[in-house]
Amino acid sequence: MRLPDEHGRFGRYGGMYVPETLMSALTDVEAEFRAAQKDPAFQAEMDLYLADYVGRPTPLYFAERLTQHLGGPKIYLKREDLAHTGAHKINNALGQILLARRMGKKRIIAETGAGQHGVATATVAARFGLECVVYMGRVDMERQALNVFRMELMGTEVRGVDAGSKTLKEAINEAMRDWVTNVDSTHYILGSALGTHPYPEMVREFQKVIGTESRSQIMEKEGRLPDRLIACVGGGSNSIGLFYPYVEDTGVRMIGVEAGGRGIASGEHAARFQGGTLGVLQGCMTYLLQDDDGQIELTHSVSAGLDYAAIGPEHSYLREIGRAEYTYADDTEALAAFQRLSELEGIIPALESAHAIAYCLREAPGVSKDEIWVVSLSGRGDKDVQQVARIMGKGHLG
C-alpha cells in the first residue's frame, strides 16, 4: 500500500494537527504537489536544476581507509556534502521553491536548526528572486554563526527566536505563526520530513533522490545492493531520502542514528526512540520527548540539526513494522567520528552526519568483510569547525 494514505497517515503516525486557518493552504500545497509530480515539465525543470545548479548526482565514494581502519564491511559514503550549499537540504528546498513559483507565491519562509536548511532556502530564494525570511533559535544562531552570515549574504532576513530552548522546535513554532498570518502571500518551506501532511511525504519525495542515486551507483560498483544503510535522524529527511527507495528490498537493513547527547540516562539528548512516547507536535502524531503532563521536553545534542523533540512520522512507522532500526550515538562518539573521518579520509563531516559515522566506528569492527554499507554523509562540517575547536580546547580558533 502506498503511504501516506489520503489522510496523511503512515499507519497511526502523521496526520494534520494544525489550526483551521492553515487547512486551505495545506490543501493547495498538496494539490499543487500532486499536479507537479505528474507534470513532465516540472520534472524536467527539477532535473535541470538538480544537475547544473545542485551538482547531482553526488558521488558514492568508497571510503577505503576508513574501511581498512575498522577492518569490517566495505563502507561507501553518499556524498551529499558535495551538493551545492554543502548538504542534502538543497534537494528539498529546490523542489519546494519550484512549487511555490507554480502557486504564484511571492514570499518564502523557513525554519532552520543547524542552518543548513536555512542556507539552502536562502540560496534558492536568491536564485529565483523571492523574498525570504528564516527563523532560527538564538542558541543555534550562536553555534552556527557562519550559516547566519551566509543567509544574510544571499539577501535573506534571519529572525532570531528567543522562546523555550531557542533551538529548532521554537523556530518551527515561529515559522508556523508567520505562515498562519501571511498564508495568502507566503509558502513555508519546511526543511525536514516532519510536521503536518503533506510535508513528510513531500520532503521524502524531494529527498529520495539520495536513495535512488545510491542504489544505481552501488549496483554499478558492486553489482548488488548494500547490506546496511546508515543515516543520522533529526527530523529525518536525509535518512528517509536514503531509505525510501530500498523499502521493498527487505534484505537491506536500514539504520537510523539519533542524537544521544550527553547520554540517555542524563535526560539531555534527542533520541526519541529511547524514552519517547506517542504524541502530537507541530502538526503530526509521532514519537516525542515529553513529560508526564504532555509538555514537550528540552532536548540536547552537540549537533543543532539533530536537536529536536519529535521524529518524522514515517520513521515511527518504519520502526513499528520492523522495517528500519534505530540506535543513537552520543556527543562524545560524534565528536570522535568527526575527527576520525577528517584524519582518515580528508572529509570533514557535519556534526549531524558524524553520528552516522559514529555508528560505523562502533559497529563495523567484527562485521564480515563481505558486507557492504552505504552511509549518508548528509552534510559537510565547515559550519561546525569553530564549535568543535572550542570543545576541543583550541580556544584561539573559536
Binding site: 489550526p19 498562519v180 503532563d293 509538555q295
Partner: protein, 271 residues
C-alpha cells in the same frame, strides 16, 4: 443542555450579544485563576475560555505564549486545571467554562479520561486549536458522551465545503476567527467579517462567537454586533500579566472585563 447551550439560549431570548473572556489557566497561579474566573463572571462574562498551558502554543501570539510559560513555571498542569474548575464550582460560580487547548496535553492525559474528568469537574466545552475537523472523528465522541460541547474554529480561509463539515461536528457555539493569524491584540478590526459570518450562517443555526484581535470596548461592541458574541483574550491576559495576583489586581482585571462585557451587551445587531 449544558451551561454553554443554556447561556446562548438565554442571550437569544433576551436579544442580547454575549461576551466571552479568555484567560490562561495557572497564570500567575491556579489559585488566582479560580478567583479570576469568579470575578470575570461577576463582571459580566457570559462564557469563560480557560487556556490549558502548553509548551509549544504555535497558534498563539506573544502575550498568550508568555502566559502559558508563566503558568508552566508556576507548576500548572492538566490535573491542576481540572481541580481549579472543581473549586470554581464549589464556590457556587456557574459561568459556562470552555477549555481552549492544544491537543498533546489532553491526548497524553487520555481523551476518554480527560472528557470524564472535565465533565465531573464542571467544564462545559472544549476547543482544541490544532485539531481541525479532519482529525475530529475520534476526538469528538468522548466529549459529546460526557456532555461537553465540541467547539471548532472557522477561519476566513475556510471553504464552504469545509464549513459544512465543521458545523456537523460542532456543538455549543462556533468560534469564528476574524482574521488569519495568531491570537493577539490589533489596532484595526478585520474587514469583511459581517459577510463572512453570513456565509457561516447559511450552514448552521449555531451561535457564532467572533474573536482574534479584539482588545477595546469599542472593538468588542462592533464585533459582537456582527455575530452572537465576541471573544477577548490577549488584552485581558496582558492585564493579568501586569499585576501580582492580589485581590486588588483581580478586581482591576475584572473592572477592565466589565467595560468589555458592558460594551458587548450594549451592542445592537447590524442590519
Amino acid at each position: 443542555m449544558n451551561r454553554i447551550e443554556r447561556c446562548f439560549q438565554q442571550l437569544k431570548q433576551q436579544g442580547r450579544k454575549g461576551f466571552v473572556a479568555y484567560i490562561g489557566a495557572g497564570d500567575p497561579t491556579l489559585d488566582v485563576t479560580v478567583d479570576l474566573v469568579i470575578a470575570l463572571a461577576d463582571a459580566g462574562a457570559d462564557v469563560v475560555e480557560l487556556g490549558v498551558p502548553f509548551s509549544d502554543p504555535l497558534a498563539d501570539g506573544l502575550v498568550n505564549q508568555l502566559s502559558a510559560q508563566r503558568a508552566l513555571e508556576a507548576g500548572a498542569d492538566v490535573p491542576g486545571v481540572l481541580r481549579a474548575i472543581q473549586q470554581i464550582r464549589a464556590r457556587g460560580c456557574e459561568v459556562p467554562i470552555c477549555f481552549f487547548t492544544y491537543f498533546n496535553p489532553i491526548y497524553h492525559y487520555g481523551l476518554e479520561r480527560f472528557a470524564q474528568d472535565a465533565s465531573s469537574a464542571g467544564a462545559d466545552g472544549i476547543l482544541t486549536l490544532d485539531v481541525p475537523v479532519e482529525e475530529g472523528s475520534e476526538y469528538v465522541k468522548p466529549f459529546r458522551e460526557n456532555g461537553l460541547s465540541t467547539i471548532f474554529l472557522i477561519a476566513p480561509t475556510s471553504s464552504d465545503e469545509r464549513i459544512a463539515k465543521i458545523v456537523e461536528r460542532t456543538s455549543g457555539f462556533i468560534y469564528y476567527v476574524s482574521r488569519a493569524g495568531v491570537t493577539g491584540e490589533r489596532t484595526e478590526l478585520a474587514v469583511g467579517v459581517k459577510e463572512q459570518i453570513e456565509r457561516v450562517r447559511r450552514h448552521s443555526g449555531l451561535p457564532i462567537a467572533v474573536g482574534f484581535g479584539v482588545s477595546t470596548p469599542e472593538q468588542a461592541r462592533l464585533t459582537a454586533s456582527m455575530g452572537d458574541a465576541v471573544v477577548v483574550g490577549s488584552a485581558i491576559v496582558r492585564h493579568i500579566a501586569e499585576g501580582d495576583g492580589s485581590a486588588e489586581h483581580v478586581a482591576a482585571v475584572a473592572e477592565f472585563v466589565r467595560t468589555l462585557a458592558d460594551a458587548a451587551h450594549a451592542s445592537e445587531p447590524t442590519q
